[in-house]
């Protein structure tokens, strides 16, 4: 039996609404809470939007070539620490700089998720039944 753990509401600033997850990213003594769009078409861990980069005054630690729907492009990369206490996540990773923040498959892997389009929520699941359902 799988239970429902922490949930995040879909964002509805575009239609249909889309799933998000809430994370805190930090670099040195600067931190920001972001709600990246859950993007299973992104095979990396985190893409961090321009607004968060500006707010945290992140310095690029390199540039890498990525493949997007419109073709290849070069993006900056940032070393950031990701915190998500509800999922017991806390690790340093490389985030790519993009227009908007995205949570990719590498961040989602090794965990079971519930994409609940009826109740418009994206949830982590728990091994036991109904902890937060």
């Amino acid at each position: 039996m799988i239970g429902v753990g922490k949930c995040w509401a879909f964002k509805d600033d575009e239609q249909p609404p889309y799933p998000t997850i809430e994370l805190t990213v930090s670099s040195g003594d600067r931190k920001a809470t972001i709600s990246p769009k859950v993007d299973t078409g992104f095979n990396g861990s985190l893409a961090i939007g321009r607004e968060a980069v500006r707010k945290m005054r992140l310095t690029a630690r390199g540039t890498v070539l990525i493949r997007a729907a419109t073709g290849h492009s070069e993006v900056p990369v940032y070393a950031v620490k990701i915190h998500q206490p509800d999922l017991a996540l806390s690790f340093t990773t490389l985030a790519i700089g993009t227009e908007r923040s995205l949570a990719g498959r590498k961040l989602l892997e090794n965990r079971t998720w519930l994409l609940d389009c009826e109740q418009r929520r994206f949830c982590a699941t728990t091994p036991k039944s109904a902890t937060n359902d």
């Binding site: 992104f42 540039t63 997007a68 790519i96």
Partner: protein, 142 residues
């Protein structure tokens, strides 16, 4: 300015060279060579090394330029990495560079980043980049 600079790196790497070396090995006119050395030094691309007892100045590519060019990206980055000989050794991989030195490399960006940046403040003089099209390229399909 970048083209003769990249050519100088391709030819001399990080070894010192003189104006006459540009004439003899790259076939530049002496006036062009002098003009390039003057401008490149002003722009910080080259470092002047004066040796005691030597009349002619020697120059060396400035290693900090690598970081600036990688962060700018684009064609200049590609040409620089190729001039450094990285395409023949690390094509399709990600490399971590400190100046002209490859401190680490990996086909997987995240494996490399784990080693180079164990925390967000680590090794701020190192830059990570791809050499050619990565075999394990990041894909954003939106």
């Amino acid at each position: 300015m970048m083209r003769p600079f990249v050519e100088a790196i391709r030819t001399f790497r990080w070894e010192p060279f003189r104006s006459v070396d540009l004439v003899e090995r790259l076939g530049y006119a002496s006036g062009y060579a002098r003009n390039f050395l003057s401008q490149a030094t002003r722009q910080g691309l080259l470092i002047v090394e004066s040796k005691r007892g030597k009349k002619e100045k020697t120059f060396r590519a400035n290693p900090s330029v690598v970081r600036e060019i990688v962060l700018r990206g684009g064609k200049e980055k590609t040409e620089l990495l190729e001039a450094l000989g990285l395409h023949s050794k690390f094509l399709g991989q990600y490399v971590a560079l400190r100046g002209f030195s490859v401190v680490d490399h990996d086909a997987d960006l995240y494996s490399l980043a784990e080693r180079i940046f164990p925390d967000t403040e680590a090794q701020d003089d190192v830059v990570i980049t791809n050499v050619g099209t990565p075999k394990k390229i990041l894909t954003v399909e939106i």
